[in-house]
Amino acid sequence: MTLFKQIALLLSLFLLIILATVLALNFKSANKSVQERLYEDAKNTASSLSLSLGSANGDISMMSTMINANFDSGTYSYISLKDIDDALVYERRSESTIADVPEWFLDIVNIEAPFASAQVSAGWNPIGILYVQSDDTYAYNQLYTILKDLLISFSILAASGLIILNLLLHTILKPLKRVQLQAEALIRNEFITQDKIPYTKEFKDVVIGMNSMVSKVKTMFDKGNEELKKQKELDYIDQTTKLKNRKYLVHKLPEYLKIDASSKGGINMMIAFSGVVEANTKLGHQNVDKLFVEMANIFKAYASNYKNSIVARMNGTEFIILLPDCSDIDGLELAHGIHDSVKNIFTEYGLDTKKTFISIGLYEYNYMQRIGELLSLTDYALAQAKFSSENIHLDKADEVLEVMGKEAWRKTINKALELNRFSFTSWTAIDIKKKKIAHNVLSISMKSDDDIVYSYGQFMAPANQAGLSSAIYSNIINSMFKIPDMRLAGSTSSLRLSYEYLDQRDTYDELFSLFKEYASKLPFKLIIEVPDKLMRQNSKQIKLYKALFEKYNIEMGVFEFIGESQDYQYLQDLRPVYIQGESSYFLSLSEQSLSALRLITDTLDISLIAGGVMDMQTLGKLKEKDITIIQGKATEMVEL
């Protein structure tokens, strides 16, 4: 029960008790006053009537007439005259008729009209005593009216009192509500500073304390953010040309060389600068650097037509341009264009183009290749280019051996979608420090008509080519919520969703209606992994997803993190539970970069997960860097 409710309950009870007591006392006092009034009336009548009776000189008929006249004209229930020997001389008695008063009132309120008496004399001698009792009908009616009035006025008082009490409590405890919201925000790693400092001392101290804490944590975050941004510049940017460097390319290539990559292949172009010594001699280092900058601009201009292209300086004289979805013909045309443009600049700089020139090796890669393979084959193409007359050479990758043809895949996947033949297989993310499973990682598998089970790695590439990957995600996520796998009950499981699927226009609405109906029935805790590429945009769209997930108690994770963002504010805004990056990324991070990243993630309570950990040696190195949650083959070797 909240403090507000407790205080409100207590004060309301207190108020009602006070009002009830005052009401009871008021009624009691009214009751007493009415009874006293009854006596006073009777006493006045007794005194005046006894004096009148004295003038009758003991004539009983006269005295009876006087008594009758008084009795009939007033409200009396009893008048009697007794002589000095206490013998009854005359009496009048009436039965009370109680009007307009309910039975319960008569039962509760007992009015006893008092008797008043006065001596009656004839001359010097007393001749008897007169007894008078007023009628209590009037008193009952009067008291009942008083009670009704009291109840109405006290009900109004109680209602107004309770409303005022409620308003007062709300006003007094308003700062507490803000303190509570601030505390709750802190728990969610949101850093809210309260500008309105409460007047109440206790609340004031708490708010100032929390503001100070928030400010410190914010400073830590900002420091980490700045440091990481600085390190990113040093780690990934070539300082002369401002192009990306080799490290960046190596970290970025996995995104292009994976089964569910959005591009199935393209051209990787390696450009080598020959005659740098001559150029340096002729132009000087500074001018050569300028020349490199101009070259970089040419590379960037030519690559800019290709979405997701990368231009990187590999070393002093070599550059790479990665052009996804670029054909061999286009690649060759582009290479010639670059070659000619650079040659023109060399001429402008007065360099001998026979001694100073560039060679371009082109390699037509596909998504199935590994990074090392891609780089060495491109390097080989460059070596060929250096010896060719045009200084341009194109090599192609071997044709990929597919399990089945494109059309056969399309048919199989469509059939599986139709019959809901997608299911989950899961592996684990292990916390090697705590020696326990951090969470389950769900992977999609597909069963064909002939009961062959295809893994994600097998069917996702052809599904991508056939434009069916989003349909698969939609199918599997619907199954997950509508027919949840009870084997996962009580666990925490993550599901990775692709950039393409999340970026689709209808996905948000689909997830919204699905969560609305089924999220509360999901028997396990779900973490949806979102690619860093989407997260770091910190767009309205991703914020909508965050709000949607938060509403239905679904956590958010980040995958494919290589720390290439311009700003890490998005981590604070979106507060993922973990960041997953390749183990190679974490291992290549400098001490400064890692500690800056740690500063951010520790501040926001974000875990770091290293993926693709294949052996114990890598695991050991990660452990040294205090990266303790891992995914990959090595998890099978860890004893829990």
């Binding site: 009874q35 006596y39 004096l51 007794k82 008092p114 008496s117 001596q119 001698n125 007393p126």
Partner: protein, 211 residues
């Protein structure tokens, strides 16, 4: 057993007989407030009461009437700054002044102390034809129907009512009788035990020993 009851009876009688009209504690207070002469007046009253303890009613009436008629008359407005005030016997004799009601009250309680039946005594509102003013006297009825004796502070001697042509009786009143009547008159047990406003006020003042 019989002896025991007799002894208790004798002891109670003895104890009652020795109980003074004004106890020592009250007398000390009166002395403190009204000085030594007041104390002497009370001691003198006690002496007269003690002498007449076993006398006939007429002797008791004479003694009490004579003693209190020595007190000087003074109006309530002068003494108590009130139009009408019924003083306790201690205030009356302490101040040694009072109006007609105060004489009646003091005589009434002194006679009760001497063992007179309260039913025989009445506060009687009268009109003095001589002074053409309202007045109060104490009336004594030997029997309920006999002619009353008038104890008056204006006419110091006790006369039967028929000899007091200067007084016109208006109303008889006996607080103790009315109180008893109120309690028992209808057979019902009453919460209210008031009988007469002035009488109730006087009884209250006497209860709290107002001096």
């Amino acid at each position: 057993m019989l002896k025991m009851i007799l002894l208790i009876f004798l002891f109670v009688n003895y104890a009652h007989a020795d109980k003074p009209y004004v106890d020592d504690k009250l007398l000390n207070k009166i002395t403190k407030k009204y000085k030594l002469f007041a104390k002497k007046r009370f001691l003198s009253l006690q002496n007269i009461l003690d002498i007449n303890k076993n006398s006939q009613d007429t002797e008791k009436l004479e003694a009490v009437n004579d003693f209190f008629n020595e007190v000087r008359y003074s109006s309530d407005i002068k003494l108590y700054k009130k139009n009408d005030y019924w003083a306790t016997p201690w205030e009356f004799l302490g101040k040694d002044k009072g109006d007609c009601e105060d004489y009646v009250i003091s005589k009434y309680f002194a006679l009760l102390y001497l063992g007179m039946d309260s039913k025989k005594l009445f506060f009687t509102y009268v009109r003095s034809t001589k002074f053409k003013a309202p007045h109060m006297v104490l009336t004594y009825f030997k029997t309920p129907r006999s002619e009353p004796l008038i104890l008056d502070n204006n006419n110091r001697k006790i006369f039967p009512a028929s000899k007091r042509k200067d007084l016109l009786p208006i109303y008889n009143f006996n607080g103790d009788s009315l109180y008893k009547a109120s309690k028992t008159g209808t057979g019902k047990k009453l919460k209210q035990i008031k009988s007469h406003k002035k009488w109730d006020e006087l009884k209250f003042n006497m209860k709290r020993k107002k001096i």
